[in-house]
C-alpha cells in the first residue's frame, strides 16, 4: 500500500493515478491530489478561476431562489447552476470516478454523491412539477456545496504554500539562465538544459546554479544559505562549489557535476517536501479511522435517510422523501476524510519547513515519534563537539620528504573525513604531487589504505596521531589538535538542564576525552571505541529503556546513527544531501540538538491535536447531519443543513492546516524557553 503524498490517504499500488519524480513513483487517491503534487501553482490558478465562476452563479441562484417568484424560475435556476455543477465541480467527479475505478473511497466520491444527488433531485422537480409535494428546487444546495468546498480547498492551498515558503525559497536560489562556456565563449542557456560535464561561468553577485568543481578562477563564496556559516569561503581551481551558494567577488569557471534534480539544493528541497510522506507512529489511529471512513459514511448516510423516510412516512409527513434526500446529502457532504488524512502530513511538512529555517533538516520524518521521546544524547567527539577543522601540528617526515608529502596528500584526498580534509589543506601549501594510488579503501575508525607502486600504503589514525606507513615503515607522522566548538558549553548545559543525559563516545584516548568531558561537565564517556562499538553502546542504552540520539559527523558513525532512535549528522555543502542520519544540522550549531528534540515534541503534540480534532469533528457533525438535533430544532434545519454541511466541510481541513501553521511560533517559544 502506498500513501498519497498530498492528503496522506492509503492508495493501492494498482492505482492508475501516479506521478514519477527522481525515479520514485508516487500514487494518489485522486486526480486533484496528483495535480496538487505535480504543479502546486497551477492548482491554485485553476481553483481561482473556478471560484470566479462558482461564487457569482451561486449567489445569483440563492438570491433568485429566495427573493423572486416568477414562471419558469426553476429553469432559470437550472441554467445558472450548470456552470457551477459541471465546470467548477468537474474535478470532484474526476476524482470520484478514479476512486470507484480503483475500488477506493475518497473525499471526491462523497462530495460528488452529495452534490449530484441534490442536482438530479432538483432536475426531476424542475421537469416533473407536482411529482413531489414541493415546487422549489435544491440547486442552491448543490451549487453552494461545490463553491464552499472549493473555497476551503483554495484557502488550504494558499496556506500550504505559505507553510512551504522556506522550501520554496531554496529553489529560488537557482537562477533560470546560466552562462554555458562554449569553447571558452559564454552563451546563455536555460538551466534545464545544463548537464554534468558542462563548463559554466559564474559571475560576481550570481548564485551558483549547479554543483561542480572550480575549473578556473578564484572567488569568495557565501554558503550561508545552506550552512548558516556567515564567513565566506575562498574557492579556487579544484574546490567544490554547491548549488544555491553565492559568488561574491570573482569570476569562476565551474565544471558541472550535478545539475537540476540532482543538485544539492533540489535534493534538500525534495527532502523537505518528502517529510509529509513519513508515517509517524501516532498516525496508526488515523489510518484505521480513514481506511473504514468512506464506507461507514455511506452506510450512515443511507441508513439515516431510510430511517427518516419510513419514520416520517409512518407519521404522515408529506415531505418524507425530500427530507430523506436532504439527510443523505448532508451526511455525505459534512463528512471530511481529508481532515483526518491531512492531520499528520501537513504537520510534518510544516515542521520540516520550520526546522529547515532553523538549520535543521529532517531527512526521516518517520523518526518524529522517537525524536519526541529522546532522553539520552550521545556525542561523537571529533568533528562533533570539537571543531570540524582540526589544526595540524608536529608534522615530521623521514627519508624523501617530497615523496612523503605527496603520498600522504594523495591518499588522504580520497577521504571525506574532516581530519583527512584538514591534512590535505595543510599539505597543499607544500606543493605536493598527486600520485596514483590504487586499491584505495577507507576503514572507518582506522584510516585509509591503498597501494602505491605495488607497496601497501596506510594512513593510520590513532586518536589524535596520524602516521603514514609504506609496507609498515613510517614515512611521516603528525598530530591533530581539536578545539571545542564555540558555545558548546552552553549547549551541553542546556541539554542537562532539560533532563537529558549526555554521553561522549569516541575513538580518541582517555586523556583527551577526559579533559574535554570535564571541561563540559559531562560525567559519562567511553573512549578508544571503534565504530561498531559505538553502535553497541547505543543498543546497551536502549535496552536500559533510554531513547537515544546519536550525534556524529555523518561519515564514520553511520552504524551508530542508524542504531540510535534518532541519528543526527553534522554536514555542510554537497554532503548535506548524501549524509546518513534522520536529521542533519546544516549550520553545525549544536544548540539545534535541543531544538530538534523540542521540535519533535511539539510536532507530535500538534499531530495528536489535529487527529483529535478531525475525528471529533466527524464524530460530532455526522450525527448532526443525520438528524440527532431534529427533536430539538425541528425538520426545518434541513433547509439550511446541506449548505451548512458544505461550509463546515470546507473549513474543516483548512482548520487543520491553520492549526498546524501555529507550530512554527510554538516551536520557537519552546526553544527559547528551554535555552539559557
Amino acid at each position: 500500500m502506498a500513501v498519497d503524498p498530498v492528503c496522506g490517504m492509503y492508495v493501492s499500488e494498482d492505482s492508475k493515478i501516479y506521478s514519477e519524480q527522481d525515479g520514485t513513483r508516487y500514487y494518489f487517491c485522486s486526480q486533484g491530489c496528483k495535480d496538487k503534487f505535480d504543479e502546486p501553482d497551477a492548482e491554485s490558478k485553476n481553483l481561482k478561476l473556478k471560484l470566479m465562476v462558482a461564487w457569482p452563479f451561486s449567489i445569483a441562484i440563492m438570491a433568485i431562489g429566495y427573493l423572486f417568484v416568477f414562471n419558469f424560475k426553476n429553469f432559470v435556476l437550472l441554467l445558472l447552476v450548470l456552470p457551477v455543477q459541471f465546470y467548477a465541480g468537474l474535478d470532484f467527479y474526476r476524482g470520484a470516478y478514479a476512486a470507484v475505478k480503483n475500488r477506493m473511497g475518497n473525499m471526491d466520491l462523497l462530495i460528488s454523491l452529495g452534490t449530484l444527488t441534490a442536482f438530479f433531485f432538483s432536475l426531476v422537480i424542475t421537469f416533473y412539477p407536482g411529482l413531489f409535494p414541493v415546487d422549489y428546487t435544491y440547486f442552491d444546495a448543490s451549487a453552494f456545496i461545490i463553491t464552499l468546498i472549493l473555497t476551503g480547498n483554495y484557502i488550504e492551498n494558499l496556506t500550504k504554500r505559505k507553510a512551504n515558503s522556506s522550501a520554496s525559497a531554496l529553489l529560488s536560489l537557482i537562477p533560470d539562465r546560466v552562462h554555458l562556456l562554449d569553447n571558452g565563449i559564454p552563451r546563455d542557456i536555460m538551466i534545464e538544459k545544463l548537464v554534468p560535464g558542462n563548463i559554466i561561468q559564474v559571475r560576481p553577485g550570481e548564485n551558483v546554479p549547479a554543483d561542480g568543481i572550480v575549473a578556473d578562477g578564484s572567488s569568495e563564496i557565501d554558503e550561508s544559505m545552506l550552512t548558516g556559516e556567515s564567513e565566506p569561503v575562498l574557492k579556487k581551481a579544484g574546490s567544490n562549489v554547491t548549488s544555491g551558494t553565492m559568488n561574491i567577488n570573482g569570476t569562476l569557471s565551474v565544471k558541472v557535476t550535478a545539475a537540476g534534480k540532482n543538485s544539492t539544493v533540489n535534493k534538500i528541497y525534495s527532502l523537505i517536501q518528502m517529510a509529509s510522506m513519513g508515517r509517524a507512529k501516532i498516525q496508526k489511529i488515523s489510518d484505521i479511522f480513514s481506511s473504514y471512513f468512506v464506507p461507514i459514511v455511506l452506510i450512515a448516510a443511507t441508513s439515516s435517510a431510510i430511517f427518516w423516510y419510513f419514520y416520517l412516512r409512518s407519521s404522515g409527513n408529506p415531505l418524507y422523501f425530500i427530507i430523506s434526500i436532504l439527510v443523505f446529502v448532508s451526511v455525505v457532504v459534512i463528512a471530511c476524510p481529508c481532515a483526518i488524512g491531512l492531520a499528520a502530513p501537513i504537520t510534518l511538512l510544516i515542521s520540516s519547513n520550520e526546522s529547515s529555517r532553523n538549520g535543521i533538516l529532517i531527512k526521516n520524518s518517520s523518526s518524529m515519534d522517537r525524536l519526541s521521546k529522546i532522553d539520552t544524547v550521545i556525542f561523537d567527539k571529533t568533528g562533533t563537539i570539537t571543531d570540524n577543522t582540526p589544526k595540524i601540528i608536529n608534522f615530521t617526515t623521514s627519508g624523501d620528504r617530497k615523496l612523503a608529502v605527496s603520498l600522504l596528500y594523495s591518499i588522504e584526498s580520497g577521504s571525506n573525513h574532516p581530519v583527512a580534509r584538514a591534512i590535505v589543506e595543510y599539505l597543499q601549501g607544500m606543493n605536493p604531487e598527486k600520485l596514483d594510488i590504487s586499491q584505495y579503501k577507507e576503514v572507518p575508525g582506522i584510516g585509509v589504505t591503498g597501494e602505491y607502486m605495488g607497496k601497501t600504503l596506510e594512513a593510520r589514525r590513532s586518536g589524535e596521531h596520524i602516521s603514514l606507513l609504506i609496507d609498515g615503515n613510517e614515512l611521516a607522522s603528525l598530530n591533530v589538535e581539536h578545539n571545542l566548538r564555540s558555545g558548546i558549553e552552553k549547549d551541553i548545559k542546556n541539554l542537562i538542564r532539560n533532563n537529558i543525559r549526555v554521553l561522549i563516545v569516541t575513538g580518541d584516548t582517555v586523556e583527551n576525552t577526559g579533559r574535554i568531558a570535564s571541561q563540559l561537565g559531562i560525567e559519562e564517556y567511553y573512549c578508544s571505541i571503534k565504530p561498531e562499538g559505538k553502535a553497541e553502546i547505543v543498543m546497551e542504552q536502549q535496552k536500559k529503556g533510554s531513547y537515544v540520539m546519536f550525534v556524529g559527523d555523518g561519515i564514520n558513525d553511520t552504524v551508530a546513527m542508524q542504531t540510535a532512535d534518532v541519528g543526527v549528522a553534522m554536514a555542510s555543502g554537497s554532503d548535506i544531501a548524501t549524509a546518513s542520519g534522520d536529521i542533519i544540522l546544516l549550520n553545525n550549531d549544536l544548540k539545534n540538538i535541543l531544538g530538534s528534540i523540542i521540535i519533535g515534541k511539539y510536532t507530535i503534540r500538534k499531530i495528536k491535536q489535529n487527529i483529535g480534532w478531525a475525528i471529533g469533528y466527524n464524530s460530532a457533525l455526522i450525527p448532526v447531519a443525520a438528524g440527532v438535533l431534529v427533536p430539538l430544532l425541528g425538520l426545518g434545519i434541513y433547509y439550511v443543513l446541506p449548505i451548512f454541511a458544505a461550509l463546515a466541510m470546507g473549513l474543516s481541513s483548512t482548520t487543520v492546516v491553520l492549526n498546524s501553521m501555529r507550530l512554527g511560533k510554538h516551536m520557537e517559544k519552546g526553544i527559547m524557553a528551554s535555552s539559557l
Binding site: M1, R279, M539, Q562, T563
Partner: protein, 44 residues
C-alpha cells in the same frame, strides 16, 4: 491490520520477523532487514 513497525505502512503476511516471541510483519524486505538490525528501536 498489521502495521509495519519500521515505516508505518500495512505489513504483508509473507514478510515476517520474530522478536521476543512476538511476530512482526513488514511491507517489504528492506523494512524487515532494518528491523532486524535493532528491533528495540521500532517496537517501543
Amino acid at each position: 491490520m498489521a502495521t509495519d513497525p519500521v515505516c508505518g505502512m500495512k505489513g504483508k503476511k509473507e514478510i515476517e520477523s520474530e522478536y521476543n516471541g512476538k511476530k512482526y510483519y513488514f511491507c517489504r524486505e528492506g523494512c524487515k532487514a532494518e528491523f532486524e538490525k535493532n528491533p528495540i528501536k521500532y517496537i517501543r
